[in-house]
Symmetry: C2
Subunit: 191 residues, 2 copies
DNA sequence: ACCTGAACACCGTTCAAGT
DNA sequence: ACCTGAACACCGTTCAAGT
């Protein structure tokens, strides 16, 4: 009878919204469709999330929190810093595996001009969390200076995002793998 | 008098739609708004473009045709193949300069799942045209083998797209410049 | 040939009402 | 506490009808 066992409608909406937003963006989110997935009516979502902007911001916040946790786990799982960078692209690969979805941050970066401020803010945090993690990983595995590591971290983040986007446009995950391989080959990513 | 002097409503719609799509995507295109920019009513656009899908496909086709012409000009303007690659990112930079817009292909790649087939097809051609051009530029300036050059060309296209997307999310063109610089520094782009 | 009014289906949102 | 039907103002899209 613990609270954790109960189905939580709010959580289900949040999860359905995340999946939808990774497929069709913030503009593609709609209350009536999300509601029907969860088994309630469109109007009922407003009980849990006051506005669409609130839902979008909640989804984006949860998204970077999850990413943060996943990256921290990689911290602990692999002893060698070089492993960190080698495994980083797999977090983006998983979105593609999961219904050819892309990173929420990438989709919402494209939608930038039509996004409510609070949503933009949470999306920014996702990028910052990833870049901070990458900076440490680059620094630890190459011995680059801190500003150099950050510049490299940013370029890795942008390049991996671009690879994911291109793979989605072909609906072909092997495109992603080839691009990452070439990033390694060219020197952007380590060996 | 000459047909080239007459204002051409269809052309104006096409141009307004391109600008809108680079800001807000295919989903963000709307007939009433485009029409009011051109001075007609929303419904009138359907005389020139049967459906939104037809308009989208026409915009995307025109987009790769223009890109193709621009790239061919670079062919002729610069004698040294190394200049070709150095100038390639500037075509993406211009979209950012022009109202923080992004490449139509990038936005529509994100929107992949909600795109009519003919639009997807034209967008694919844009990527192919760019990759073919880049392949020649890489091959001519590095002496890499043909398959190696194409792999590198694809990774440059993906990475530059990602850099543009990230710069848009910050609404800061200097982010783009820093990323390109770091691509050069890392070896993805030449020196 | 070129354009429009009016209708349609759908959206986010609100709110009084239900349990 | 949690959900709903109905209504509202608005949107993109369509099509028969205008000139």
């Amino acid at each position: 009878m613990g609270g954790t066992m109960a189905t939580n409608v709010k959580e289900e909406v949040l999860e359905a919204a995340r999946r939808a937003a990774q497929s069709r963006g913030y503009a593609g989110l709609n209350f009536r469709e999300l509601a029907s997935e969860v088994g309630i009516k469109g109007a009922s979502i407003h009980y849990h999330f006051r506005t669409k902007a609130d839902l979008g911001a909640a989804v984006a916040r949860r998204y970077w929190e999850t990413s943060d946790a996943t990256l921290q786990e990689m911290w602990e799982r692999y002893p060698d810093p070089k492993e960190w960078l080698r495994h980083y692209p797999s977090t983006f690969r998983q979105s593609l595996e999961n219904g050819n979805r892309i990173c929420l941050c990438s989709f919402m970066s494209a939608e930038h001009d039509d996004l409510p401020e609070p949503v933009k803010a949470e999306i920014q945090v996702f990028a910052e969390v990833n870049i901070k993690w990458l900076t440490k990983a680059v620094s630890a595995s190459t011995g680059m200076s801190e500003p150099e590591s950050e510049r490299r971290a940013r370029s890795i983040f942008a390049a991996v995002s671009g690879a994911q986007l291109m793979a989605r446009s072909r609906a072909d995950i092997s495109v992603f793998d080839s691009l990452i391989e070439e990033y390694c080959h060219s020197g952007l990513l380590p060996g």
